[in-house]
Amino acid sequence: MAMTQFRARALLLTPAGLWYAALLLLPLAVVLIFSFGERSAIGGYAPGFTLEQYANLPARFAAFRNTMTLAPLGTVASLLIAYPLAYFLAVRVSPKWKTMLLVLVIVPFWTSILIRSYAWIFLLGGKGIPALLAQIGLDDVRLLNTPFAVLVGIVYGYLPLMVFPIYVALEKLDKRLLEAAADLGTPPWRAFLQITLPLSMPGVLTGSMLVFILLMGEFLIPAILGGGKVFFVGNALVDLFLQSRNWAFGSAVAVALVVIMLITVALYTRAVKRFGASRDDVGLM
């Protein structure tokens, strides 16, 4: 009996286990080893053991700074836009329209992020929004290739990932709790702060973490909308591995990014324990 159970468990876990070992742990180990090595004369990697690459990290300070400011900013902006939308979809929309509106939230995913980001080049470029602003007297507004353009791009690209977890949390919220709050003397806006918001925190945390982690590794949107002026750690990695061919330094930068993410996830887990202690439905992601 116990043996059968063990076998069943082993059988269930084998595919995922092999997958993670081959595609996550192995590459991570390689990157870690590379990060202590050196750049060979012709580029790529030369074995060695030195902390030189890590000492050199400040050279890429701008990339880390951009990532560490725009990723949280993008997360917060997505949250501020997504929460009211998710609330509207979960609480206010009649069932008749709900499905259609939810599909509309997903529709952008049907097109490649590359193409959608290119569309923003035209919207933010000289003949797009700046041209419209010029009409009302705001001349020489430059949007493209600014941090703002990158922010717009990432909020646009990742909004659905924020909307859905919050939507699910709000959808699950027992509406009778709000009646109970009203019955006990709470006006609607206070009931939102005391009941709705705390009970939707699992969705907020899940969505924020999803978006934040993906933004930390983002390189496409800064590359397209930042025009080489606003670059993320992801862009630095592309540059180091594919252009400068300095694999050792690139690995050190990658390891630093992974460490930052781990710290973030640890903080997230603590936040979940505080907000979501009452819920068994809080996944890590």
Binding site: D174, R176, L177, E179, A180, A181, A182, D183, L184, G185, T186, P187, P188, R190, I195, P198, L199, S278, R279
Partner: protein, 391 residues
């Protein structure tokens, strides 16, 4: 105590809601005046007129969709009447939002806040007061409320750690701590198992007596309504069908609807042969005459007559018929032994199916009757009641 329908000497405590005027707010805590609620095409509450007396335990009883919950929600402030008025303490509250009303509700599935402890749930209403109450006062009152529902040791527990009965007590404490003018109970027992339900019903009654708060209960469980209420308001199709004490409704159902809903009743057709001061001589389908109670102003000749199963008794065909009793020939089709009594289903010639409940004590002496036995159903004079036509 009650042998079928009331005998001649019993004076009925009629409901005077429609005639009493003007509203005496010392006696009336809340009132519906022609309160009507429409949801689109659906008429959920249809011209409800009712006075709720201060300190009473009133139940709205009826099947689902009868309008009882709508009536309760109009009191709570979750619905406002489409037409008519709802008054609390003599004040029209139709447009007053729930959070301003001096009433509190125990919800059907309790609706406890999952992100708060038991104590936080119970103190929630007090924390909403503006100007704010001092913290120590809230804490003291939470402790007292928890003691009232015998959950002293559970203050710091989480809601999901509690059993159904304990959760219900928390919901009760969370409501009564605010000292509402009326405590509204929306099928609070529905989620409890039968044994716990009986216990909670007794506790609720004790609580109501000790607090002196008016309780308004919504239920579809007639036993619950009968055992707990001072008065019951029977509802159907959004309207009030009959209001009265449990005994009133059991002894004097005005309609087939009420007779069917409160307790079990045999309803048979009768042809009125003669009437005399509230009594009617009626010929049943088999030609046998019975003397039954009737409204004095009734003029119908073809009527429905209700009689409770325990008012009837069974004897063998060969046994003599006692005086002032009609004997209906019948055959036993089903026999169900239920401990304290035996339930018989019979086919009576010219009448149809009758149910007779024979107490165990009588059967011990006289013996029972087997399925297939030919018997006489005995119908004593002056039991049974002519029903008004259902509106």
């Amino acid at each position: 105590m009650l042998d079928g329908y009331a005998d001649a000497g019993n004076t009925m405590t009629q409901d005077h809601d429609m005639t009493q005027s003007p509203t005496d707010t010392r006696q009336t805590v809340a009132e519906f005046v022609g309160a009507t609620k429409r949801f689109g095409e659906v008429l959920a509450a249809d011209r409800i007129d009712l006075r709720i007396r201060r300190g009473e335990f009133l139940s709205f009883l009826g099947p689902s969709g009868c309008g009882k919950t709508t009536a309760l929600r109009m009191l709570a402030g979750f619905e406002s009447p489409t037409e008519g008025e709802v008054l609390i303490d003599g004040r029209e509250v139709g447009g007053m939002p729930a959070y301003r009303r001096p009433v509190n509700m125990v919800f059907q599935h309790y609706a406890l806040f999952p992100h708060m402890t038991v104590a936080e749930n119970v103190g929630y209403g007090l924390r909403q007061r503006r100007p704010r109450l001092p913290k120590h006062e809230i804490a003291d009152r939470v402790i007292r409320a928890l003691a009232t529902v015998r959950l002293d040791d559970f203050a710091q527990r989480r809601i999901w750690e509690l059993s159904g009965g304990q959760q219900q007590r928390v919901a009760l404490a969370r409501a009564i701590i605010n000292e509402p003018k009326i405590l509204l109970l929306d099928e609070p027992m529905a989620a409890l198992d039968a044994k716990l339900r009986g216990e909670m019903q007794r506790e609720l009654l004790d609580l109501q007596r000790s607090l002196g708060i008016t309780f308004v209960l919504v239920t579809h469980d007639q036993e619950e309504a009968l055992s707990m209420s001072d008065r019951i308001c029977i509802m159907g199709h959004g309207r009030i069908i009959q209001v009265g004490t449990p005994q009133d409704l059991y002894d004097r159902p005005r309609s087939r609807y009420v007779a069917d809903f409160v307790g079990k009743a045999n309803i048979v057709e009768g042809q009125i042969a003669a009437r005399h001061s509230g009594w009617a001589q009626a010929a049943l389908g088999n030609g046998v005459h019975v003397l039954v109670q009737d409204e004095p102003d009734d003029t119908r000749t073809h009527v429905d007559i209700a009689i409770r199963p325990e008012a009837l008794s069974l004897v063998r065909r060969s046994d003599p018929t006692p005086a002032a009793t009609a004997a209906l020939p019948a055959m036993v089709t089903h026999r169900t032994f239920l401990g304290d009594h035996t339930e018989y289903l019979l086919t009576a010639e010219g009448i149809g199916t009758l149910q007779v409940n024979a107490p165990r004590a009588a059967e011990r002496v006289a013996g029972g009757h087997d399925v297939g036995a030919y018997v006489h159903v005995l119908w004593p004079e002056q039991t049974g009641l002519v029903l008004a036509a259902d509106s």
